[in-house]
Amino acid sequence: MEPRTIVLPGDVLAVGRDVVPGSIYVERVGDRLIATIPGLVVVDEKNGKKTVSIIPLEGAYIPKPGDIVIGLVKDIGITHWEVDIASPYKGILTVQEVLDKPFNPATDSLKKYLDVGDYIVAKVLAFDRARDPLLTLKGEGLGRVSEGAIVEIKPSRVARVIGKKGSMINMIMRETGCDILVGQNGRILVRCPNRELEEIAILSIKKIEAEAHTTGLTERVRALIREERTRRGV
């Protein structure tokens, strides 16, 4: 199986016991390893064993502890907020993970700090499949979003937008002069000097989303940004 080939559910990736699944999207059935999701094949070696995994091209965002996500506050409880993190699982943000001081529900109100409709940049503290993921705003760069535009892409395309060691996203930021924060859940915060550059940044992100499975993408995106800048005179 050629690396980086697109595979589909039911495709046989490998036969025999000397290759092992390297991701949850590769299933062993008898002596065959089968792809279970549309994605790109990656062959690797781990501890002397050949592994085959899949980078999914589709699929919902499943939170992992340590992920940075951009959430949308959906509901307010007595001592916590419910946050939509573009996932089948909703995020829980307790007041202790937001405030440094003690919170008294009798005299204080959560609404003062975060309201329904606010975007937040948060970190996933904990997630086990039995309970909803816990979030925190305590940390560098985390907090309520007060300015900028939010772009939503498929979470499976996030890795491509970031690029190897951030190469893609750094290139976009350099070429557009924008500050861009990519949430693992497919939500991206774009802050630009002006409206035109913001549009260009969003265009380039959308292009990566659409062509995530191809090669030579970095160059095409760079070319797009430069063309657009020239065309718009920014």
Binding site: I6, L8, P9, G10, V29, T36, A60, P88, A130, T214
Partner: protein
């Protein structure tokens, strides 16, 4: 089975290449599928969607999920709940069909769900629901098989992990001849009608119903016919999924 008035002749025999060949009312040979069209990602709101046509039968399937289980109490702690709805639009049949769910739709929703349960890796998404909606827009026989085929494409489109795609096709016995992918007229007068859905790569039977009478050896032949038909449909499904990615690239850099 059985319609009003004269029964049309659904099979006639022709000499072809020195052999007697059964020709169906629409010119097909017993092993021929109808013209099949498949397209993935046809609805922008759904997480995954597909449109499938088997000749005059047209079905659209949409998948929403995995998503939060609503109402909460239906959720299962260790896996996703599959929720399937097979439904026929009132204008899909020649006489208007009531929009309210009928006993037939209840039964078909169940057997289709059970077919999908056998391949979807529901353990990856505990406490969520995966909603699969299938709407028959035009009915000309084989609607449940087209529906499960479309549902499987929609699930793949949505990135929901499955052990294999599900390919469905119906075999019938018409005027004594076993035929593949029966249409409505054939179904109306058939001595037997057997919808089957398989996971072709795994050679597993996920949906199997027989309405009619067959001898045990006819049944074995019919099942083999269904298996071959499903393999062809499976090939078309994979093509349809791949097309989604090929079309996305304007020109390679």
């Amino acid at each position: 089975m059985g319609g009003a008035g004269e029964k049309p002749q659904l099979i006639h025999w022709e000499e072809r290449g020195g052999e007697k060949v059964a020709v169906r009312h629409d010119g097909r040979l017993p092993w021929d599928l109808r013209p099949i069209r498949m397209e993935v990602g046809v609805l922008s709101n759904a997480d995954g969607s597909a449109l499938v046509e088997y000749g005059g039968t047209r079905v659209v399937a949409a998948v929403y999920g995995p998503r939060e289980a609503v109402p909460r109490h239906i959720a299962l702690p260790d896996r996703a709940v599959l929720r399937c709805r097979y439904h026929m639009a009132p204008f899909s049949t020649s006489e208007r069909k009531t929009p309210a769910p009928t006993r037939r739709e209840v039964e078909l929703s169940k057997v289709i769900r059970e077919a999908l349960e056998a391949v979807v890796l529901t353990e990856l998404f505990p406490r969520t629901t995966i909603d699969v909606y299938m709407e028959v827009l035009q009915s000309d026989g084989g609607t449940r098989t087209a529906a499960v085929t479309a549902a499987s494409l929609a699930l793949a489109d949505a990135g929901i992990a499955m052990r294999d795609l599900v390919a469905g096709v119906a075999v019938g016995k018409v005027d004594g001849v076993l035929v593949l992918d029966i249409d409505e007229i054939e179904d109306n007068y058939a001595e037997a009608d057997m919808p089957v859905a398989l996971a072709p790569s795994l050679d597993r039977v996920l949906l199997l119903q027989l309405n009619g009478v067959l001898t045990s050896s006819e049944f074995a032949k019919a099942l083999e016919m269904a298996r071959k038909g499903a393999e062809e449909i499976y090939r078309l499904q994979k093509e349809a999924l791949r097309r989604k990615y090929v079309e996305a690239v304007p020109e390679q850099g």
